[in-house]
């Protein structure tokens, strides 16, 4: 069998559960910690099933919680995340162009925007996402790259940011 990397110091599902069990909102905390521990920052079907079984919560309820909160990812996430705000302020200041430019640069050729789009490149290097509103409307349009908020973004600025990461990654 192939040796699994990253398994050594990741706490087991069971220990994460027992850490939070009994406290208010424990399912949320359990899922949050498990997602944080995951290499691809997501909750796999397997993990959700383990949580349900070990915590004695119906599967449908675990799924309900995992799909209700936008900070949970059910799909593996890229190493780098680009989040484009699609709130009204950002929209009127051109965030749709930012989204389309990034999609093209990352190779999503037939990209169609949906509410809460989230796409990950096949090499799992990048995830491109939209949010309904960052709450930073004064700085519109806003884009978060790997957690850093960039304000008054132009397509040119954003392309440079993405290209820079792409160059580092291909080295």
């Amino acid at each position: 069998m192939k040796k699994m990397p990253n398994k050594v110091d990741v706490p087991s599902v069971k220990s994460v559960i027992s850490k939070h069990e009994g406290k208010a909102g424990s399912l949320l905390s359990i899922l949050e910690e498990l997602q944080e521990n995951d290499v691809h920052k997501h909750l796999s079907e397997e993990i959700l099933m383990q949580v349900a079984q070990k915590a004695g919560i119906p599967l449908s309820q675990v799924y309900s919680v995992a799909t209700f909160y936008s900070f949970f990812n059910l799909k593996p996430q890229g190493k780098h995340t680009i989040v484009v705000c699609r709130g009204t302020a950002c929209h009127t200041r051109g965030s749709r162009a930012l989204l389309l430019e990034s999609a093209a640069q990352l190779g999503f050729t037939d990209f169609v925007e949906e509410d809460e789009s989230a796409l990950t490149t096949p090499d799992r290097k990048f995830t491109l996402r939209t949010v309904a509103c960052f709450g930073q409307c004064a700085l519109a349009p806003v884009v978060a790259v790997d957690g850093t908020i960039h304000s008054h973004v132009t397509p040119g600025k954003l392309l440079k940011l993405i290209q820079k990461i792409q160059k580092e990654e291909s080295r």
Binding site: E45, L48, A52, L59, Q61, Y63, S64, T67, D115
Partner: protein
């Protein structure tokens, strides 16, 4: 406790503390409209149709969840209220398909009748929802989220009544929907196919899988011999489904309607219910005397079987090995009856009329091909495998067929079942209600074990709609404790006791649905306690009027043992009438 004085539309009203505005209004004859609310089932106040104006309140109040307080001044039909109600329904309609005319709930849909009642004639809002695929994975139930209004009733029954939680609200925002784990579909969830969600859904978002077309086709095929069996509970619910009063007892009319529909033989599942009593009763006595696994639990209810196979696989040995009456019937029709009459079993189509959606699933369990195996063992070769039961239709589907061909049901002359698989006893009739299998089993087991007639044939301790019932019986000096549970939540309580080694019972009856089969998931929609009581009452009336009321006194069953099965639990009985269970993993 002192009563609270409030005013409803200017009229003073006195109600008990803790009453909701809705209940207060209903008690004075004001029918505040409700859509999501369903008494004893769901109160998550999501639709906003029940709003009323409370003097001094800034926003409108939802009557279904707002409790009255002293001196409340309620307006139930102010212009503001009427506009808000209409808007609530319009918003639902904006995202709703417009195919009422070809919808299976056309005429029985609460959304449709609410739109009519509130005089909604146009929808001012654009649709914001995208069409989604139906969930057609289950052999019993089809879910169509396009028609879902997110009232939450289905989630509530699945969780609160059945303790199954196969479905829940999933997603957020515009994508909020009712779904199974990972949206894999009901078949790949813990769903027991009980169908309780289908009887509470206000719209066509959850319906039984309709097989009436296939049955019509079989009826029209001259090469087929189409045999029908009717479950005990149908005789007190099909009349209701055809517009007669709730609980109308219509055994003879039902038989006549089935003949009119063209069924070649009209038989009764009650025949095999009597047979179940002999097999199961003997099994119980064997377990008691030879030290088998106790308590023994009944196995007639297929939703219950899926439930224990999914959630309590370690307790499977407690189940009786008896097949359900539906499956015993199918196996015998295509072996015993086919052989006796010279009908080619491969040409026989067995249709069952069941109060149940899980029966569709049960009929398709791969092990339910006993007659085919039996013929094969007798040397028959080259015949493709067939199921013992070909189609299991619900009460609602039968009603649809009767309406379809234009039979005026209430005016039909009464007829009687065909022989011999149509002969039954009062004990079999009460199988259709919670406690009935237990009572029927006691009537026989007592007499078989003691050789003496039972002093009191009616076991009232296990009658009625209480969730878990108990009785203690004296069987020839031995005291036996028995219990009866209906709904899976109550079954779970008894199972947890068994798992903890605390169960004091010898025999337990479990039925999946509230009230037993009379409250089944295939029964007329929107049941409530009163309807269940009326249907159950009719079955007890029928039992009283039957000439024979004990299963072991059914002459057709005696003949069956003499001619074919030899004795209960014989080798051939095991082949045709008994089954096995397995851990159901998702």
């Amino acid at each position: 406790m002192s009563r609270i004085s409030i005013k409803i539309d200017g009229t003073p009203v006195e109600v008990a503390p803790g009453t909701t505005i809705l209940e207060a209004c209903l008690s004075t004859g004001i029918a505040v409209p409700t859509l999501c609310h369903l008494r004893d089932v769901a109160t998550n106040a999501s639709c906003g149709v029940c709003v009323v104006e409370v003097k001094g309140g800034r926003s409108l109040a939802r009557a279904c969840v707002t409790k009255v307080i002293p001196n409340m001044d309620v307006q139930t039909a102010s212009p503001r209220v009427m506009a808000a109600r209409k808007m609530a329904v319009e918003l639902l309609l904006a995202n709703h398909p417009t195919d009422c005319l070809s919808c299976s709930r056309n005429g029985s849909c609460e959304l449709q009748s609410m739109a009519e009642r509130l005089n909604v004639r146009k929808v001012r809002f654009p649709s914001t929802r995208k069409a989604v695929a139906k969930d057609e994975t289950s052999p019993s139930i089809i879910r169509d989220n396009n028609k879902c209004i997110l009232c939450g009733r289905c989630v509530a029954v699945c969780k609160e009544m059945q303790s199954v939680s196969a479905i829940d609200v999933a997603g957020r925002g515009l994508r909020t929907h009712i779904g199974t784990f990972m949206d894999r579909g009901l078949k790949h969830s813990t769903c027991t196919n009980c169908g309780q969600c289908t009887v509470v859904c206000p719209t066509a978002a959850i319906v039984e899988k309709d097989e009436t077309d296939a049955v019509f086709k079989a009826l029209q095929d001259p090469s087929k011999v189409v045999v029908v069996q009717t479950a005990p509970a149908i005789r007190s619910s099909i009349g209701e489904a055809m517009g007669m009063e709730t609980g109308a007892l219509v055994t003879g009319k039902m038989v006549a309607a089935l003949r009119k529909l063209g069924f070649d033989r009209v038989f009764d599942t009650q025949f095999s219910a009597d047979l179940t009593i002999l097999e199961e009763g003997t099994e119980l006595l064997e377990r008691l005397t030879k030290g088998g696994t106790l308590p023994m639990i009944t196995s007639c209810s297929p939703g219950w079987i899926s439930f224990i196979e999914t959630f309590y696989p370690k307790l499977l040995a407690h189940l009786s090995s008896c097949k359900s009456p539906q499956q015993m019937f199918g196996a015998l029709a295509k072996s015993y009856y086919a052989e006796k009459t010279g009908i080619d079993p491969a040409n026989m189509v067995v249709v069952s009329i069941m109060p149940c959606t899980a029966k569709k699933f049960e009929a398709q369990r791969p092990e339910m091909q006993s007659a085919w195996k039996w013929w094969k063992q007798k040397g028959q070769k080259g015949v493709a495998p067939y199921f013992d039961v070909d189609y299991a239709l619900t009460t609602r589907e039968l009603a649809r067929m009767i309406k379809n061909v234009g039979i005026d049901f209430s005016r039909l002359e009464e007829q009687t079942f065909d022989d011999p698989l149509g002969q039954s006893t009062g004990a079999a009739t009460i199988f259709g209600t919670t406690g009935g299998v237990m009572e029927a089993a006691v009537r026989t087991a007592y007499e078989v074990a003691t050789g003496k007639p039972l002093p009191n044939i009616e076991l009232t301790a296990v009658r009625g709609l209480e969730g878990i019932k108990h009785a203690e019986l004296d069987v020839g000096g031995t005291r036996l404790k028995v219990a009866v549970a209906h709904t899976l939540k109550n079954a779970r309580i008894l199972l947890d006791d068994i798992a903890a080694g605390k169960s004091e019972y010898a025999f337990i009856e479990v039925m999946t649905c509230p009230g037993g089969c009379i409250g089944g998931g295939g029964q007329p929609i929107l049941p409530d306690r009163k309807k269940r009581e009326a249907r159950a009452h009719s079955l007890y009336v029928e039992d009283r009027n039957m000439p024979v009321r004990k299963s072991h006194e059914n002459p057709a069953i005696a003949a069956l043992y003499k001619e074919f099965l030899e004795k209960p639990l014989s080798h051939i009985s095991h082949e045709l009438l008994h089954t096995h269970y397995a851990h159901r993993q998702m």
